[in-house]
């Protein structure tokens, strides 16, 4: 199910502005990788290049390559739509579709693509995805109510259920807990722990405790100053990053000496 991501010398641009420079890293399958770093250092931008979502912003483009199990996402003639079917994404703010019920939100990836599906298959997929997102017990009696009626934490788990319903290989999470309370955050962290058995997970977070709790490997990004591109400073096992990192800047950041 899950795939290895290899990034070779990646630069990301917004028009003339170089946002991220020279990133090379390998993300192992069935693992959780956390991106940490100060705001504006390009973590989210880099995350979005992993499923070509940054192209949604006008003028954004990429140099370098991103290989998912050896296939270059930025090769010639690659359809971003097919990329995004393999690499799912969960956003910072929960964004269930307001016009759809809870059930339809989970099935959105299927229904929006006009794929026909037998009702029994659809029911099974809804239950499996909601179980997978740890939400089934809370919503099983109100699947036909609008998804926007759920609490923030439930909405975020609904978005995760929606992402895993299309069975991607990789799940990208862009600060999935920043808008949530500690209890919902805990629920999502537990969920990440479960999901990692099947999926490759990459998570951007500002919460260093969260990074140390959920991730196997951690990447620290930093920026030299405003207007300069963000760079990958250090990428290693989470325990190493948080106990004895090689680079002084990493140690300063994780120990709270700046930022």
């Amino acid at each position: 199910m899950s795939k290895r991501i290899q990034v070779n010398d990646l630069n990301v641009f917004y028009g003339k502005f170089k946002a991220v420079e020279g990133i090379s890293m390998t993300i192992e399958p069935r693992s959780v990788t956390a991106f940490i770093g100060p705001s504006g250092c390009g973590k989210s931008t880099f995350l979005r290049t992993l499923n070509r979502m940054h192209e949604v912003i006008p003028g954004a483009y990429v140099e370098g390559e991103v290989l998912v199990d050896g296939d270059n996402l930025y090769g010639e003639g690659v359809d971003p739509v097919l990329v995004r079917r393999q690499v799912g994404m969960v956003f910072q703010r929960p964004n269930p579709f307001p016009t759809m019920s809870i059930r339809d939100n989970v099935l959105a990836g299927v229904k929006l693509n006009n794929t026909r599906m037998a009702k029994s298959d659809a029911d099974a997929l809804v239950e499996k995805s909601l179980q997978g997102a740890n939400l089934w017990n809370e919503v099983k009696d109100r699947l036909n109510l609008p998804g926007s009626g759920l609490s923030g934490g439930q909405q975020q788990r609904l978005c995760i259920a929606r992402a895993i319903a299309v069975s991607p290989e990789v799940i990208l999470m862009d600060e999935p807990c920043s808008a949530l309370d500690p209890i919902s955050t805990l629920a999502i962290e537990d969920l990440i722990e479960d999901l990692k058995r099947e999926y490759t997970i990459v998570i951007v977070t500002h919460n260093m405790q969260q990074a140390s709790r959920v991730s196997d490997k951690t990447a620290f990004f930093n920026i030299a100053g405003t207007g300069k591109p963000g760079k990958l400073i250090e990428y290693a096992d989470t325990t190493k990053i948080f106990s004895n990192p090689d680079v002084q800047a990493t140690e300063d950041y994780v120990s709270g000496r700046f930022g």
Binding site: V56, N95, V166
Partner: protein
């Protein structure tokens, strides 16, 4: 001990409620001002005809006096902040009432004058062979509905697709040029639209051609920019997060637009389309040029002249036949019918908007 505390508490005045005019005071001052000014005008009118009593000036000057008095009282009894608050509140409320006056007066006049001929015959016969009393507007009602429907069928797809282009695809100079042209089109005088459509149909069918569809084309020239602008606003209101959520599920752009963006904004788009229809349904000048004037019922958009309700009102007023009172009554009844049609359209649009609006559960 407890009893004394309770007594002390009730005797004590809450400092937060002191220094305020009582709630009824604005109304009392308003009434007092009217009575005062009315008294002055009555004195000035003594010995004259009571019908000469100047009620409009009484209400106007009385309201002005009320605004002044209320502000003065408030600044004396209360403080500056409350005085300014009361001044602005009374000005805003007066503006609201002033806006309502012409609207209510218009509705009242149309209903009173229109009801005379608002009968079964009005809705069952046309003006064919009628020069005196009797006759009806069935031909004009059909004409209005068909020509407006034709205009909507032409403008809604074009306008909506333009709006989708501008919001979802348009970048750079072409989009800017379209936006500019749409803005220019919004300001086109309706008679110019009529001349344009008439000229186009003259090219294809020769001079003197009157057709319902020519009227529809003229109206859609007026309607398209309104549809574009309102749909564009509504589409822009759809949060980008929803589009991104859809893209992240591997949904192509066109399906995202069809199934996420459009359903989310359909309520607002419906309202915009209805407003656009309401704007063109009352047009007269372009239709006289393109669809012509006829007294007979014609339900074929593609052949022969057609009359709409505004054109009927115009022609009844312009050439009343042998009995001007009858013609004027028909004109008023036509105006009333038109207002009712627009009102029904708006109700339907509200219903549609309510059915399609994104629901917030709980």
């Amino acid at each position: 001990m407890t009893a004394t505390t309770a007594a002390a508490a009730s005797a004590r005045v809450n400092p937060l409620t002191t220094g305020q005019l009582p709630a009824w005071s604005p109304w009392a001052i308003l009434l007092g001002s009217w009575v005062l000014v009315g008294g002055v005008f009555a004195l000035m009118n003594t010995g004259g005809d009571p019908a000469d009593f100047n009620i409009a000036a009484t209400l106007f000057l009385g309201t002005v006096l009320f605004v002044v008095l209320l502000t003065v009282f408030s600044s004396v009894a209360e403080n500056r902040r409350r005085a300014v608050d009361r001044l602005v509140t009374s000005l805003v409320s007066s503006a609201f009432v002033i806006v309502l006056i012409p609207l209510v007066s218009l509705l009242y006049t149309v209903v009173v004058n229109g009801l005379d001929r608002f009968d079964a015959e009005f809705f069952s016969s046309s003006m064919r062979n009628i020069v005196g009393e009797g006759g009806g507007a069935v031909h004009a009602i059909w004409g209005t509905l068909l020509i407006t429907l034709g205009a909507a069928v032409i403008s809604v797809p074009i306008g909506l697709m333009t709006a989708i282009y501008l919001v979802e695809y348009g970048r750079g100079k072409l989009a800017k040029a379209i936006t500019f042209l749409v803005d220019v089109m919004t300001g086109i005088p309706s008679i110019v639209a009529g001349l344009f459509a008439a000229a186009v149909f003259v090219i294809f069918f020769g001079p003197g051609t009157y057709m319902g569809i020519a009227g529809s084309v003229a109206l859609s020239v007026l309607m398209i920019p309104v549809v574009v602008r309102s749909s564009e606003e509504m589409l822009r209101l759809v949060p980008n997060e929803l589009r991104e959520a859809s893209y992240a599920l591997g949904v192509p752009k066109w399906l995202t637009i069809m199934k996420v963006v459009m359903p989310t904004s359909i309520a607002g788009i419906t309202t915009g389309v209805t407003l656009a229809i309401s704007r063109v349904i009352g047009e007269t000048a372009p239709l006289v040029l393109t669809a012509g004037i006829t007294a007979s019922l014609n339900t074929n958009l593609f052949s022969g002249p057609m009359t709409t309700l505004p054109v009927l009102v115009f022609s009844q007023y312009r050439s009343p036949g042998i009995d001007p009172t009858e013609a004027l009554d028909r004109a008023w009844a036509g105006a009333l019918t038109l207002i009712l049609i627009v009102m029904a359209l708006n109700l339907v649009a509200r219903l549609v908007a309510k059915i399609f609006a994104p629901k917030l559960g709980r």
